[in-house]
């Protein structure tokens, strides 16, 4: 029996669970316009996983990277949920403005 895959699956479940928090708090504190940065963090983590010593570390960093990329595609919808009142709404003035905000506003935020 090879338990590595099953344990990886369970670790993935935990990391995806943290992804829910990442999207909810990320949108509340930073705002959905941070999506390109969240995506970049995800891509960077996956690249870092290539150089990880040991399979466990590589898998955890890789899955964390995928969770950040997925999270970046959920931020826009989360902002709409907060506007409707399904989640606490935080005004834009209390959010941290992302660098190059004007440019990012011209891009269509991804949603899958």
């Amino acid at each position: 029996m090879n338990y590595f895959g099953l344990l990886t699956g369970l670790a993935t479940l935990l990391i995806i669970g943290l992804g829910f928090l990442l999207v909810i708090q990320g949108e509340r504190i930073l705002g959905f316009l941070w999506w390109p940065y969240m995506m970049m963090v995800g891509i960077a983590l996956i690249i870092v996983s290539l150089f990880a010593q040991g399979d466990w570390l590589a898998v955890v960093i890789g899955v964390l990277g995928a969770t950040f990329i997925w999270g970046s595609t959920e931020l826009k919808e989360q902002a709409v949920r907060a506007e409707i009142g399904w989640y606490p709404f935080n005004d834009a003035t209390r959010k941290l403005k992302p660098p190059f905000e004007k440019i990012i506003k011209n891009w269509r935020a991804p949603h899958l």
């Binding site: 029996m1 090879n2 338990y3 895959g5 993935t12 995806i16 890789g62 995928a66 506007e83 409707i84």
Partner: protein, 136 residues
């Protein structure tokens, strides 16, 4: 270079994407939720068994992650039905199970997808939330 992290990342991303879309589409048209729940749970267990029986580490990881996401998707059918009842996801009037929910005033079901718009940066009332998606 250790490619096992990239494999884990790709399987995670695509199985989450697949589950996200599949649960919504299947729950929308299925007259029952126990059948898709049972199918996804069975598939998840089979894929986890494959993960346990393979000696290839990459394949074991791919099956391990895919299996767990399928098992989670099995639970998501119930969660999706709850979203339909609350009006957080669009109900299908042609689905008899959803038609009952739409007719029941104890629920707040709607056929509209209130999330299908761009954020406007301010809180909106229930009426405004509907206007924002119907007036475009």
């Amino acid at each position: 270079m250790n490619f096992i992290g990239v494999i884990a990342a790709l399987v995670t991303f695509f199985s989450v994407w697949f589950g996200h879309v599949a649960v919504r589409k299947i729950e929308f048209i299925s007259p029952t939720i126990w059948i898709p729940t049972a199918i996804f749970a069975t598939l998840g267990l089979i894929v986890e068994f494959l993960s346990l029986s393979t000696v290839n580490r990459s394949l074991s990881i791919a099956f391990g992650i895919l299996g767990i996401t399928l098992l989670f998707d099995a639970l998501e059918f119930t969660r999706q039905q709850r979203r339909i009842r609350k009006g957080h996801a669009p109900a299908n009037p042609n689905n008899p199970r959803h038609a009952l929910v739409l007719a029941d005033s104890n629920f707040h079901a709607t056929t509209l997808d209130l999330l299908k718009r761009e954020p406007i940066g301010k809180p909106v009332s229930s009426d405004q939330a509907i206007k924002l998606i119907t007036e475009h």
